[in-house]
């Protein structure tokens, strides 16, 4: 555990040091089958039910490459503006670990399928930061170990371990950035924004579930510091187990403050793997190895090289969807948004919802106002993501239409939305069931207006004297009397007509 005294104040860190970032992201592809066998690629499931001789490494079993995974890898590479290898191979990464059946991971080494790309990342203030991509390569996931007994749930001190090989052989793409210089005080933000942008891009490509909480997107953050403007490269640490966007930011920030404190005292950073502790927001050293791991990579002799034809690569390029960054740029222009308005939409993860609501007939202003204000509040109250609210963009558009027709006031509309969220059916059914129709019968309204004027004769006199502003009190009384089901604008017109 690192105590607070071992950390340097963040402002001081960035005043004295330049951070250097490097990010490695592992993405589990959501192909139907695993990377090298026909087993189902599904999250969860009874332990050891999605296994076969190949992914259990039975003697004699051989791998066969999943063509869809290769296609996904190429599409990811193209979306990251990478070059696609004309010829590449798999390689074996040799090390012993119980949850890795073959005791080598079939991966790619010096011949990745995609390399030399970049991803433009939008920071909180709208600035675009370009992160250069070193490579994206294909590999397979390991199984999972469950260490039983002992206090920590770690392998040391456990009574015994259980192994689940359902995940063994699930296709992974590892995306590695080049070293990212020049982030200064924004290093934690850049790290988070990069992973966020990458997640959006992978989602748009529909190649992965990109669920950080389920491990289908995992980030390792490499951080080093060098004395301000020295240009000297510092020793880096690699922090693993960073399972949310917020954790990415916190982990980088923590490592910066921890390393700075050590360097300031003349200490040396140990090149090591560290683990992020979600609860405390700190990192702790992993098990130290006596010697550097030597993975003895060599080309996988059980698989043939992959040589994607240029025609195929170009065909795949045509299948790329609009990239999230470009889409935002387009939407910003189409909906005439300010930077702040766009940021609100992005932060609320509401772009798709608003776009779908516009598609269903609302204007972008109407759709935005519903999703980022009232519905966002509802999501917060109900403790769910905006997209998980039980209301569809079409239903929101319907409510908007009812307001525009004059059938609902804004207040009534909110009640209709609550009804939909509470599972009372379509907007029209809620209106019907809750009796939320606007009172538009002038006769009924006139009666209510007369009653209100009679009840407040002094106000009535003021209005008659031309003090139109006083009409508000009468309108309010009428609205109260009609339980809000009247159109306030119409009521106001009637009040003024009656007093003139």
């Amino acid at each position: 555990m690192t105590s607070v005294a071992d950390l340097m104040d963040y402002d001081e860190v960035v005043a004295r040091f330049d951070p250097m970032l490097g990010l490695e992201v592992h993405v589990e592809l959501h192909t139907k089958t695993k990377m090298f066998c026909g087993c189902a690629n599904e999250f969860g499931g009874e332990p050891n039910t999605h296994v076969c001789p190949v992914c259990l490494a039975a003697p004699g079993a051989l791998p066969v490459v999943n063509g869809v995974a290769v296609e996904s890898a190429i599409r990811i590479g193209l979306a990251l503006n990478c070059e696609i290898a004309e010829w590449c191979r798999f390689a074996r990464k040799n090390y012993f670990y119980p949850d890795m059946p073959k005791n080598f991971q079939t991966s790619q080494y010096d011949e990745p399928i995609a390399f030399n790309g970049y991803l433009d990342v939008t920071l909180d203030d709208g600035e675009i930061f370009r992160v250069e991509i070193e490579r994206a390569h294909m590999e397979e996931d390991t199984g999972k170990s469950l260490h039983v007994g002992g206090a920590t749930g770690r392998i040391h001190g456990a009574d015994h371990s259980l192994l689940d090989y359902n995940r063994a052989g699930v296709p992974l793409i590892e995306i590695v950035t080049k070293m990212i210089p020049g982030t200064a005080e924004r290093a934690p933000e850049v790290a988070r924004a990069y992973v966020s942008a990458l997640r959006d891009l992978l989602k748009a490509l529909d190649v992965s579930d990109v669920r950080m909480d389920q491990g289908s997107l995992r980030c390792d953050a490499n951080v080093s510091l060098s004395p301000k403007d020295s240009g000297v490269l510092g020793t880096r640490t690699e922090t693993k187990n960073v399972n949310s966007l917020r954790s990415v930011e916190r982990a980088v920030r923590f490592e910066m403050t921890r390393q700075a404190a050590i360097l300031a005292e003349g200490g040396e950073i140990v090149q090591e793997t560290r683990h992020f502790e979600e609860a405390s927001g700190t990192t702790r050293a992993g098990r130290r190895k006596e010697t550097a791991e030597d993975y003895r990579y060599f080309p996988e002799p059980d698989l043939v090289p992959i040589a994607p034809s240029r025609e195929w690569v170009e065909e795949l390029r045509l299948t790329l969807p609009e990239m999230p960054a470009e889409r935002r740029k387009r939407i910003k222009a189409e909906w005439s948004l300010t930077d702040a308005e766009l940021r609100d939409l992005v932060n609320a993860d509401a772009i798709d919802l608003v776009a779908a609501t516009v598609e269903a007939g609302a204007t972008s202003v109407e759709a935005r106002s519903w999703w980022v204000s009232y519905l966002m509040q509802q999501a917060n109250t109900r403790g769910v993501e905006l997209g998980a609210l039980p209301i569809t963009p079409a239903q929101v558009a319907k409510v908007v239409a009812l307001v525009n027709e004059g059938a609902l006031t804004n207040k009534l509309a909110r009640e209709v939305v609550i009804g939909v969220l509470d599972g009372e059916g379509e907007p029209e059914q809620v209106v019907e069931a809750r009796g939320l129709k606007v009172v538009s019968d002038d006769g009924a309204l006139e009666k209510a207006v007369d009653e209100a004027l009679a009840a407040q004769p002094d106000v009535a006199d003021k209005i008659r004297d031309g003090k139109v502003a006083a009409a508000g009190a009468i309108v309010g009384a009428v609205m109260k009397a009609t339980k809000g089901q009247a159109d306030a604008k119409r009521v106001r017109e009637l009040v003024i007509a009656r007093c003139s």
Binding site: P53, G60, L62, N94, I155, S161, D294, F298, P301, V304
Partner: protein
């Protein structure tokens, strides 16, 4: 002729013609195994029930007038214990897999079963196919039927000895550096390493993935060809499998048997002679070349200078791949488990198991391979070996541009005495000097008996090599040579194996 001394082709004809039942044939071989295998130790496992059941199925087809499953339906076969088969143990000659039963069939096993071939059992081998004498088996050495004090070759000594001891008319071997051909040579039997990629490796427990190739073993060239056509062919479970028609090896064997080799150009590899070659082996080889010439072949000398580096390259590539392939034997999911007594962690159990389960030669090769792949050594060892491999392939290409097949002795000596080379790995490795180049290049090669050595009366093999996917060329030459050899030497060589009854 007795059932056990018949060829596979003869047995098939008798079974399919209803002259003899497949069950009788299987029983005759099972009886033979019972009577002689105590002395030979060719079999690690005999599947009496499975064999008789498979034979019965063929008899049912014949009795019902249904077409038989293949030209070899009903013929017994011995399967090298490196190919997995459901219902039988697979040990690879190692303690680490003792008692393990595969949950699936290898593609070769499946093809054999579908062809109605009767699998008698699993044959002995050097542990994980590492060796040239079958002395590295954890289950004791196999003895050469020609002289029980001598080795039957390796790693597939069990398969070839089973043929020479008339325990089976057919066998499957695997050849990584000569493990089919060298045992064939020293037991006076035919052994074929088909083109790499033409027989599926799915279910062949890997020693060295880029070199391993299963192939047919038999007592005649035609029998080997018939078996070749049963086991070869594209398999989508093996990514290195070649999607091309199986070369017409049976037709080539039949054509060759007519005895005419005119128009065939034969290259004698000049690198494979001289020092280290037994005089009787060289004499037999020269006589065989002369016989080819008399059959009409044009014989020329061919130099393949890179072949001199084949053995050192092989002993870097094969152990490198083996060090990785054998990593899966870690006690976690199957096989031997040592030290799981609550006092050792998983890593210690792995280490204790591997220490107890692997024999000395396997450990030696795992260490060589681990070293050769280590960072800082990779380029000098594994990297250089791969370059040599390319050069060897170029030598073959150049040679096959001028000749149809290449020939050499299969192995420099006849069968050596059991125990003679166990403490001298280099001497042991030299047994594969002439066979290794074809594994490195991936082309087809086979060994066919060329007679008995004048100096010790033991069998000598003639190696015939052909370009990739031109396996039929060597079958044609081998079949023609076989006829001429029997005519010149007074009948089939194999019938001169000493009596083994009563040992």
């Amino acid at each position: 002729m007795s059932l056990i001394r018949s060829t596979a082709a003869e047995l098939a004809a008798k079974i399919h013609g209803g002259e003899v039942s497949a069950v009788e044939v299987a029983q005759a071989h099972l009886d033979r195994i019972s009577s002689v295998d105590k002395g030979v130790n060719a079999f690690l496992h005999v599947d009496t029930d499975g064999a008789l059941a498979a034979a019965k199925k063929v008899d049912d087809d014949v009795a019902a007038g249904r077409p038989v499953a293949s030209p070899l339906a009903g013929v017994p076969l011995a399967l090298k214990d490196v190919l997995v088969a459901e219902g039988m143990p697979t040990t690879c000659g190692s303690k680490i897999l003792e008692g393990w039963h595969s949950p699936y069939d290898s593609t070769v096993t499946r093809r054999l079963r579908e062809a109605g071939v009767v699998i008698l059992g699993k044959t002995n081998m050097d542990e994980f196919a590492m060796g040239s004498s079958t002395e590295n088996s954890a289950y004791g050495p196999t003895h050469n039927p020609w002289d029980l004090d001598r080795i039957p070759g390796g790693s597939g000594g069990g398969s070839s000895a089973a043929l020479a001891a008339f325990e089976a008319p057919l066998a499957i071997g695997t050849d990584t550096g000569g493990s089919i051909r060298q045992p064939g040579s020293v037991t006076g039997t035919v052994g074929v390493k088909p083109t790499y990629g033409s027989v599926s490796r799915y279910g062949l427990v890997a020693f060295s993935s880029s070199l391993d190739q299963a192939g047919p073993c038999a007592r005649t060239v035609l029998d080997a060809a018939l078996l070749h056509e049963v086991i070869a062919g594209y398999d989508n479970m093996d990514s290195t499998s070649i999607d091309a028609p199986v070369p017409p090896v049976v037709a080539a064997a039949r054509e060759g048997a007519s005895g005419d080799l005119s128009g065939v150009r034969v290259g004698v590899v000049s690198q494979f002679s001289g020092e280290g070659y037994q005089p009787g082996v060289l004499a037999s080889f020269e006589a065989a070349v002369e016989q080819l010439r008399q059959l009409g072949a044009e014989v020329v000398q061919v130099s393949c200078p890179s072949f001199d580096y084949a053995m050192p390259a092989y002993y870097l590539i094969a152990p490198s791949e083996a060090s990785s392939n054998l990593a899966r034997f870690d006690a976690m999911r199957y096989g031997l488990r040592v030290g799981d007594d609550g006092t050792h962690g998983a890593e210690e159990v792995m280490a204790l198991t591997r220490d107890a389960g692997f024999g000395a030669e396997v450990k030696r090769r795992i260490m060589i391979g681990t070293y050769a792949l280590s960072s800082g050594y990779y380029d000098a060892y594994y990297g250089s070996a791969q370059k040599v491999r390319t050069l060897i392939a170029r030598d073959f290409d150049a040679a096959f541009a001028t000749v149809d097949v290449l020939v050499s002795p299969t192995t420099p000596t006849t069968a050596f005495k059991i125990g003679e080379r166990v403490d001298d790995p280099m001497a042991m490795y030299k047994a594969d000097l002439c066979t290794i180049p074809s594994n490195l290049a991936g082309n087809a090669a086979m060994s066919v008996p060329s007679g008995l050595s004048a100096d010790d009366g033991l069998p000598v093999g003639l190696q015939i090599m052909a370009p990739a996917l031109q396996d039929h060329r060597m079958y044609r030459v081998a079949a023609a040579y076989e006829v001429a050899r029997d005519a010149a030497q007074g009948g089939p060589l194999i019938q001169r194996v000493p009596q083994l009854e009563g040992i």
